[in-house]
Point group: C2
Chain length 261, copies 2
């Protein structure tokens, strides 16, 4: 099976113009099949403030009311997605932007209200892996914004980490999939105050211990859960690393934190 | 050759929620290959006002400074494009949104400054008809936002009428192309105050006379110029009509204004 790199870049990479350019220039050099999933960044919050849309957070997650849904559809699906695509065209990579509605790529349903009403947040039902495969076989690199749709005419806001792992799992029967989470740290840290204290590899059992010991913190837990879920479902490797280490990782060097079953 | 309908909807159709839903429900029923190009609508101006970006107009055309470019990239490429795509998915049409950057669909260059500096406005150089054909052959309906790119990492704002006619010409060697401009009037009117005074057909010579006589007004001239240019370059038919007459036209009825060489 061919290699496929599913790469996610977080908001902090997107917010820094210079950093983003360098990342995309590196990304454009990868010869293997790639899919890029981007997060939102602070720009949505900034534009939202100007529009009088306040960010409502519950347990560190954005609540998506109707106005916020419009905001993220504009900013994630328009502003950020097209910026990334246009820059990749400049760097010689024929990219094409998608949300989950485009080509019916990712169907989701509005998250049911339990203790918290997250509003227009989508939990993924299906990924159209056939469509994604067709795109990849046309030598086009898909750039996915963190938006899904409910097949009833509504866009939904969906976490980019979750999209990355879900897409990785969906492609695992066609490709040898490597899921790479790129962010602004060197990997999962043993001590958050020591940016060099990268844990080189974590097995599922070690993850449980690190979680119990409080070494792995709140924000990292959903990312790790998504990652181990992906490994259990056929994804070959999951790496959490600094965005500037992307090319090293693709060329087989050991960087960041490697997760294993 | 197979038929291909290149259909453009204007801002007034987009601005009216009920009208837009009905139009898209009709559009979804067309069995022939279709491409939809949408304009901007008032929503860009409204959101721009909230963001403190004033619309600057010269001779009825928007001047696109850097902030306005961000605005239209968000609104045209994100908000409107994804709304249309999500609704078409609801109506059973597998649509996929594109700007000119996506799949390198439409390359353009920044319009040179002569008497007026229009800013980040793109004049089209090439349409990637091979890519568009691949999309159509995958049974996916392309929905194009009025944005192009310059291959140097910049998005550019491009008139939707112009994109429609340029795409129509680019596809004319592969398909029997019908270019349909849908708006809120029954066609080209002989008397603007009489909405029923539709001119049923206009040849190029008649167009010159109508222009000289002042019957065809300012805003309509670029649309008509684009249309006759398309006919000269291989497009089979151009029809200017009310959005609600779309299905009649596709089924072969005579509606709106038909332009001919």
């Amino acid at each position: 099976m061919k290699d496929l790199y599913i790469i996610k870049i977080g908001g902090n990479v997107i917010d820094n113009e210079e950093f983003l350019h360098q990342f995309l220039e590196d990304f454009a050099q990868i010869e293997a099949h790639t899919v890029l999933i981007h997060g939102g960044g602070k720009v949505a919050t900034q534009i939202g403030e100007k529009l009088g849309i306040e960010a409502q957070m519950v347990d560190g997650r954005r609540v998506t009311d109707a106005k916020t849904l419009q905001l993220v559809t504009m900013v994630y699906g328009g502003l950020i997605n097209k910026k990334v695509v246009a820059l990749l065209q400049k760097f010689g990579k024929n990219a094409c932007g998608f949300t989950g509605a485009d080509g019916n790529l990712i169907q989701a349903h509005k998250r049911p209200v339990k203790t918290v009403d997250y509003g227009f947040v989508g939990d993924v039902d299906t990924v159209n892996s056939t469509f994604l495969d067709t795109v990849l076989n046309s030598e086009i690199t898909p750039i996915i914004a963190p938006l899904t749709h409910d097949s009833q005419g509504n866009m939904l806001n969906t976490n980019a980490d979750t999209i990355a792992s879900t897409v990785a799992v969906a492609m695992a029967n066609k490709y040898q999939v490597h899921l790479v989470y790129c962010f602004e740290l060197k990997g999962v840290l043993r001590d958050f105050d020591d940016k060099s204290s990268v844990i080189n590899s974590i097995s599922f059992d070690q993850y449980q211990q690190l979680k119990e010991a409080g070494v792995i913190s709140k924000g990292m837990i959903p990312k790790m859960d998504n990652s181990f879920d992906a490994i259990k479902n056929g994804v070959k490797s999951v790496i959490i690393c600094h965005a500037e280490d992307l090319l090293n990782i693709v060329s087989g060097e050991t960087k960041g934190t490697v997760l294993s079953a």
